[in-house]
């Protein structure tokens, strides 16, 4: 099976409209929850049963996260959606916003109901104007239909939902940087603890979930946590969106069961581009360690299987590389990315990403020296685990894994001052 959760409406004409969404059962779960006064506790239990794990990359169980909210404490609380999609290789949330925005809205209203938040914000990256416009139009439709705002469907439950537009900063995908950004500040991550559930947006209890996680909620509660669990694995329920990009014939977003063999997913994406062989795969977005192609062919798309290959599922962003790929060149580009995007707050990341970028660049340019490989390894090691947020680790992990699997290519670059492979790109 495929396309049963976030992409379940994509085949409908104008799938982003309220009428299309409602024609396929949209907002029925919300109506049921409000009219039958289902309790947040029982809803959260069902989400725990589904074993929905956070789709933004960390994989933390969503139901458990919601249960951390001090819902009985008085005062304002917030639900925040992280649509600041920017991890290289990742482009699934964009399509949820464009093609199924009402399901995200319904998910956020239900989340607000479950954690006792009367206000929500959806943080959409600034470049996503078209998805933002779609989401805004959907908000207007939902408000006009009495599905969003004060006294939703006469239930007495109030929920206000707004977009917040970013302005270009990868680090704002980190949840506390994102909160600072909504507060109108530089998007620099906060030290944790305190965690957002205690001290979040404007210092109030806040839950932050990824777009895909929140958009999955209405389907989970409509069909039951057990149903969702059974679509995937006991360790991670559901179908999940995988963005397959790079050297494949049919790049695209594929919503398939958690645990699908990578080889099947690759086949859905049309296989490696014609006339070429699989060389390497980054399975979960640019931050996750690279895996050699032959090893990847034995891996399934779930947390445990990918971990056994030394990498991570991340946000399900599968970047496929064929034999024309010069690995030092790819790592050089990724190292530059983290250097560009480091917020500058922690010294190991601010300085270390600069070192990684400059040293990979000189290897790529044919002016590297023999000691550079050890230097890269050492700088990466000095970033790992020494920073406030995960961006430092995200910069270090590709370096470690590229050197582990493709050290010979780096050595070749240094010795011969050119690439080991021929590329047509």
């Amino acid at each position: 099976m495929a396309n049963q959760v976030c992409f379940r409406n994509n085949h409908l004409e104008n799938s982003w409209s309220l009428s299309a969404y409602q024609s396929n059962g949209g907002y029925e779960v919300l109506k049921k929850i409000l009219s039958e006064k289902l309790t947040p506790e029982e809803l959260i239990e069902d989400i725990k049963l589904s074993n929905l794990r956070g789709r933004g990359g960390a994989g933390f169980p969503t139901g458990l996260k919601w249960s951390f909210m001090p819902r009985t404490v008085d005062g304002q609380k917030y639900i925040v959606c992280n649509s600041d999609e920017g991890e290289p290789g990742t482009c699934k949330d964009r399509d949820i916003l464009r093609y199924n925005p009402h399901q995200l809205i319904e998910g956020m209203i239900i989340a607000g109901y479950c954690i006792d938040a009367s206000v929500g914000y959806n943080y959409i990256r600034g470049e996503f104007w078209e998805p933002y416009a779609r989401f805004e139009a959907a908000l207007e439709e939902a408000r006009a239909a009495g599905l969003l705002g004060d006294d939703i469907l006469g239930s007495g439950f109030n929920f206000q939902l707004h977009s917040h537009l970013g302005a270009g900063a990868y680090v704002c995908g980190e949840e506390t940087a994102l909160l600072n950004s909504i507060e109108g500040k530089k998007g620099q991550p906060r030290f944790k603890p305190p965690f957002p559930a205690g001290f979040g947006l404007y210092g109030r209890p806040t839950t932050i979930n990824n777009t895909e996680s929140l958009a999955s909620i209405p389907v989970i509660l409509a069909k039951g946590g057990q149903w969702f669990l059974e679509q995937g694995l006991p360790s991670a329920g559901g179908e999940k969106l995988f963005s397959v990009s790079g050297h494949v014939n049919r790049p695209g977003n594929y919503e398939v069961p958690m645990g699908m063999p990578f080889s099947e997913l690759l086949e859905m994406a049309g296989g490696v581009r014609d006339g070429h062989q699989l060389k390497a795969v980054i399975p979960g977005g640019s931050s996750t360690p690279v895996v050699p192609g032959e090893q990847m062919m034995d891996v399934n798309m779930d947390y445990d299987s990918i971990a056994s290959a030394g990498s991570m599922l991340g946000a399900g962003s599968v970047i496929v590389m064929d034999e024309t790929t010069c690995m030092p060149r790819v790592l050089t580009r990724l190292a530059y990315f983290y250097y560009e995007e480091s917020c500058g707050q922690c010294t190991p990341c601010r300085e270390g990403t600069g070192w990684l970028s400059r040293v990979t660049q000189r290897i790529e340019d044919g002016v590297g020296v023999a000691a550079d490989i050890e230097l890269l390894d050492s700088v990466a090691g000095n970033i790992e685990g020494t920073t406030i947020c995960a961006l430092g680790d995200a910069a270090a992990m590709p370096v470690r894994s590229f050197l582990k699997h493709y050290r010979d290519e780096f050595q070749y670059h240094i010795d011969h001052k050119k690439c080991m492979v021929e590329s047509d790109w």
């Binding site: 482009c91 416009a133 500040k185 990009s245 580009r333 990724l334």
Partner: protein
């Protein structure tokens, strides 16, 4: 005299209304975007100071935001800012050829503006449309599948479309 138009002010007010009354600063990102759009795509110190006054925040706090996020421009840019993604998925799909062709057609390098002030070419990080690589962003729009080896005319069409708006 104010440099921010009444319509921009009302647009900013709409954003202010989304946040708690005492949290006007939350609208600073939207405000900077709105006044930048109105000022041909870039910000000035005077505009940032006006935003600070409008949102009752220290000027330095506005500068911090304006310098932190990559979509704000503190120098003049062309009427069309072509943002080219060269990150991994675009790179694997020949973004280098996209850059080469745009540089060739426009006669400028990445980071530069054409002499007639029409185009600025800017390298950007991942735009989040990786399955449609290579991708560029111009204003509110994305232009996708631009690999000249596969779609030889697309970049010419894009430039013609943008020039047609002149």
């Amino acid at each position: 005299m104010s440099m921010i138009s009444d319509s921009a002010r009302s647009d900013i007010e709409n954003w202010v209304d989304k946040y708690p009354a005492e949290e006007k600063q939350s609208a600073v990102m939207a405000a900077l975007r709105i006044v930048q759009d109105e000022n041909s795509g870039s910000l000035t110190t005077e505009l940032m100071n006006e935003v600070a006054t409008l949102l009752e925040m220290p000027e330095i706090a506005v500068y911090e935001v304006a310098t932190f996020y990559s979509m704000y421009e503190l120098k003049l840019v062309g009427r069309h800012k072509i943002c080219v993604c060269t990150n991994i998925s675009c790179m694997l799909n020949n973004s280098k050829a996209v850059v080469d062709k745009l540089e060739d057609k426009l006669g400028v390098k990445l980071g530069e503006t054409t002499a007639d002030g029409e185009f600025t070419l800017k390298e950007v990080e991942c735009l989040g449309a990786c399955v449609n690589a290579p991708v560029v962003q111009v204003g509110e729009n994305y232009y996708e599948h631009l690999n000249p080896a596969i779609n030889p005319d697309k970049i010419d069409q894009l430039l013609a479309e943008l020039r047609g708006e002149s």
